[in-house]
């Protein structure tokens, strides 16, 4: 793996990381035998009275407010005091940068000694790869013995996601809310033009045209009728309103599997039309992190856009900034895209969240399960997500409602609640309606009503991912290459001239199929048959 890294910090760091990975796995190779020997005697050492260390991965988003750090903050102290000390365990948190989660985890997994006892990923193919290569502890029996609260909290349906060949190798986190995307339009622009809110894709197109021609926001040449970025929250809602799901309201789970659907080409053709008529962000192909899009929205140049259901509503977030920057601006949540059947089809999340795994080399599997079980018991999750009753929130009908006047010091202590409470993706209170209510209560009061509307939109006519219950080999093999290629298809077929569309689209699709797409499609179709 001799990448010649000559210039720049990044490449040098990369080379170093690779070199380290190699040396470390070299050592791992030598010591694998002894590690296995010890691993098989996974008795909780804590029970014998010796104090042990449990290492837990935590996402680092670089947003720790002083005086907290990612490894020492209110919640880590809470965990230590409430779980660690009574059980004679030192809980140590191992930060992993959010943006390089998988690459860093790969390196850690290769080193049997440095890897945390609890690790996690969102990507199912990574989980399956680790499981197939024999790198994970089988958690089924441990869960039966030490995780009654955890099992109850997660429920059978969610637990299914952690299985491979009938054995449990991961503990899937539970997702509180499966709604994903909503769209927004500048109500003040509609009012200025005396237009109704668009209800269908066709109407949306006409509205965008009107935005472009009449510039109701008086922003000069900078008007962007539809804000677009090379990011799923922007293109998926559009594409999903064109494609036909393969199995009722379920379809292939991965984003790069969209091109296998009937209607994908029409979606691209629509994008092409929008682009060539100057209706979407010109530089969307450069904007993978959405930073330009956010700027454009907040400066009041964007008429319509789609985003993650909650994204614009945070305190000092996109919506707040737009209203502050542009006087008289007004945003409304709408459900504009319609498919051939007139439905507002859009994707939703699976009911699981993170895949939480215990590496085979870990000697603290029992403690790891105990920790997760502790998290699921009592009101620990509420505490991790919402803080202290009376200081951070008040209970209303059993749901914590965040206090708007909570002091900053109190707000700061739960800044990483979502990342610490790994078994729960969002606030889980049992049924979806209550979850949504609890979630909305976490936002500034002024934005709560519109968030409610957004969630209702996001839940409308959703298409869910199929859970095959087994690894799709081609996903692990070609996934990242195809994801990159999907972006190329979208960008190329959107940005070419309309008369070149057919040729460009066919060419890029051919390439997509040659790069593993064909193999993946075949495997998916076979898996689908087996499912029926």
């Amino acid at each position: 793996m001799a990448v010649k890294a000559r210039k720049g910090v990044l490449s040098r760091a990369l080379a170093l990381a690779m070199a380290t990975a190699m040396t470390v796995s070299l050592l791992a190779g030598c010591s694998s035998k002894s590690a296995e020997g010890e691993a098989s005697s996974k008795n909780g050492a804590a029970e014998s009275g010796k104090r042990v260390t449990l290492k837990v991965e935590v996402f680092d988003r670089g947003n720790s407010p002083a005086p907290h750090t990612i490894t020492n903050n209110y919640l880590t102290q809470f965990v230590q005091k409430e779980f660690g000390d009574p059980n004679n365990i030192d809980v140590q948190f191992v930060p992993i940068q959010r943006s390089e989660e998988v690459t860093k985890l790969n390196v850690l997994m290769a080193s049997a000694s440095d890897v945390p006892d609890i690790v996690f990923v969102y990507d199912s193919s990574v989980f399956y790869r680790y499981a197939q290569q024999g790198g994970l502890t089988e958690v089924g029996p441990l869960l039966d013995e030490h995780g009654p609260n955890l099992k109850k909290f997660l429920g059978e349906e969610t637990l299914q996601y952690g299985k491979l060949d009938g054995k449990m190798y991961a503990i899937p986190g539970k997702r509180a809310i499966t709604g994903r995307y909503a769209s927004y339009i500048r109500q003040d622009w509609l009012d200025a033009l005396n237009l109704p809110a668009p209800q269908t894709t066709e109407e949306l197109y006409n509205t965008l045209k009107a935005f472009k021609e009449k510039d109701p926001g008086k922003v000069g040449g900078k008007v962007i009728p539809m804000g677009m970025a090379l990011a799923p929250a922007q293109y998926e809602p559009l594409i999903y309103s064109f494609i036909k799901p393969v199995k009722g309201d379920l379809t292939y789970p991965q984003r790069y599997e969209m091109p296998f659907h009937e209607g994908f080409k029409d979606a691209m053709k629509f994008m092409n039309k929008l682009y060539n008529e100057g209706l979407i962000s010109k530089d969307f192909s450069l904007d993978e992190d959405k930073s330009q899009l956010v700027k454009d929205i907040q400066n009041g140049n964007v008429g319509f856009f789609s985003d993650d259901v909650d994204r614009i509503f945070y305190d000092d977030g996109i919506l707040d900034n737009l209203l502050k920057n542009v006087s008289g601006s007004k945003l409304a949540a709408i459900d504009a895209y319609t498919n051939a059947e007139g439905k507002h089809a859009k994707s939703r999340y699976a009911s699981n969240g993170l895949y939480i795994m215990i590496p085979k080399s870990s000697k603290r599997a029992v403690e790891a399960i105990k920790y997760l079980d502790w998290m699921a018991s009592g009101d620990n999750l509420v505490h991790m997500y919402s803080g202290v009753e009376g200081e951070n929130y008040e209970l209303v009908d059993g749901i914590p409602v965040m206090k708007p006047d909570a002091p900053q010091e109190a707000v700061d202590r739960i800044y990483n609640g979502g990342d610490m409470a790994i078994i729960s993706n969002g606030k889980n209170f049992g049924d979806v309606k209550t979850n949504e209510k609890a979630w909305i209560f976490g936002f500034p009061e002024r934005n709560q009503e519109m968030l409610r509307q957004s969630i209702d939109i996001a839940n409308q006519d959703t298409i869910g991912p199929i859970a095959f219950g087994k690894p799709i080999e081609a996903e692990a093999k070609y996934g990242t290459a195809l994801l990159d290629k999907l972006n190329v298809i979208i960008v190329k077929s959107t940005m070419c001239k309309p008369e070149e569309f057919e040729q460009v689209y066919e060419q890029e699709m051919k390439d997509f199929m040659a790069k593993g797409g064909a193999e993946l499609q075949k495997e998916l179709e076979e898996a689908l048959k087996e499912l029926k």
């Binding site: 990448v3 210039k7 190699m22 190779g29 530089d283 450069l286 990242t480």
Partner: protein
């Protein structure tokens, strides 16, 4: 001189040498143990020794991947264009700097020229986007204000090549002058004075004295650069490149990153790395041989 006396006299030099040797042993030779991954079905959890041998299977797999050839072609293309554009730039710059009379102006220009070298590619990438973007880029905003069509510097493959090359020259040309300037300071001043007395103009002096005296440096750097034809830095194509120009900006290093680190297919990534190393070796030996034949100068 006797052995012991020799060591006694020069031990400091050997001590100085120790650090680079240790560096090379740990970071350049140590990792070579991992080269065998290319011939193994590498399992993260079994380690290198525990993984099974698969012979040349992984090589067959890599050579069957269409992406491999595209990235290989791009690597050669970008490096070759870089050689044409970026290689002469520091030579011209060094000669210009050398010819300068005013010492303070020379010092200031040198410093300004060096600065880009110390700016990380991530930051350069940000600057490039701000300057060359279609919608928000400064240059295109100027063009549009003058009623001209914007130039897709970043999203159309041929204009992108220019952007890529230009940023490369901007970043490295100044720093590249150092070696040439060092070579030039060693040139005997009397040569220039004699030539001036004989009535040689400035261009003649550059042609007959300056250039020949840095010829060995040029040849050495050229050989080294040719040896690097198949390897390419990661950050420049990764950061300056984007989805719209993927057919040009995807190179071997980004390919290795994607296949190896992102998808965890270490075996395939190692195969590509080994392939690069072997071809690189052939290139460097070949160019050295040719250079020795043609000019009598080489590096080995």
């Amino acid at each position: 001189m006797k052995g012991s006396a020799y060591i006694k006299r020069y031990w400091q030099l050997y001590a100085l040498l120790l650090l680079p040797i240790v560096y090379f042993l740990i970071f350049r030779y140590g990792p070579m143990y991992g080269v065998q991954i290319a011939f193994k079905d590498f399992n993260l959890f079994q380690g290198i020794a525990g993984s099974e041998w698969i012979g040349f299977d992984a090589f067959r797999q890599v050579f069957a991947m269409p992406d491999f050839y595209v990235t290989l072609r791009n690597t050669f293309m970008l490096n070759f264009l870089d050689l044409i554009v970026s290689f002469p730039a520091p030579i011209l710059l060094a000669i210009m700097l050398f010819e300068m009379r005013s010492v303070w102006f020379k010092k200031i220009s040198q410093t300004i020229l060096y600065i880009p070298h110390f700016i990380s590619w991530v930051i350069i990438g940000g600057i490039v986007y701000q300057l060359f973007g279609n919608q928000s880029g400064m240059i295109n905003n100027l063009l549009m204000n003058m009623g001209l069509d914007p130039i897709p510097f970043l999203t159309e493959k041929n204009p992108w090549l220019l952007t890529y090359l230009f940023t490369g020259v901007w970043q490295s040309a100044g720093w590249g002058t150092i070696l040439y300037l060092a070579a030039l300071t060693g040139v005997n001043k009397e040569l220039f004075e004699a030539a001036e007395v004989d009535g040689a103009g400035r261009l003649k002096r550059i042609w007959h004295i300056t250039l020949p005296s840095i010829k060995p440096t040029i040849v050495t750097l050229l050989i080294l650069n040719l040896g690097k034809m198949i390897s390419i830095g990661f950050d420049r194509p990764y950061i300056i490149g984007n989805v719209a120009v993927r057919e040009y900006s995807d190179v071997l290093s980004t390919f290795v990153y994607r296949v190896g680190l992102e998808s965890g297919q270490y075996t395939l990534a190692t195969v590509v790395g080994l392939f690069q190393a072997v071809v690189g070796l052939v290139f460097i030996l070949g160019s050295n041989y040719i250079s020795k034949k043609l000019t009598g100068d080489g590096i080995m």
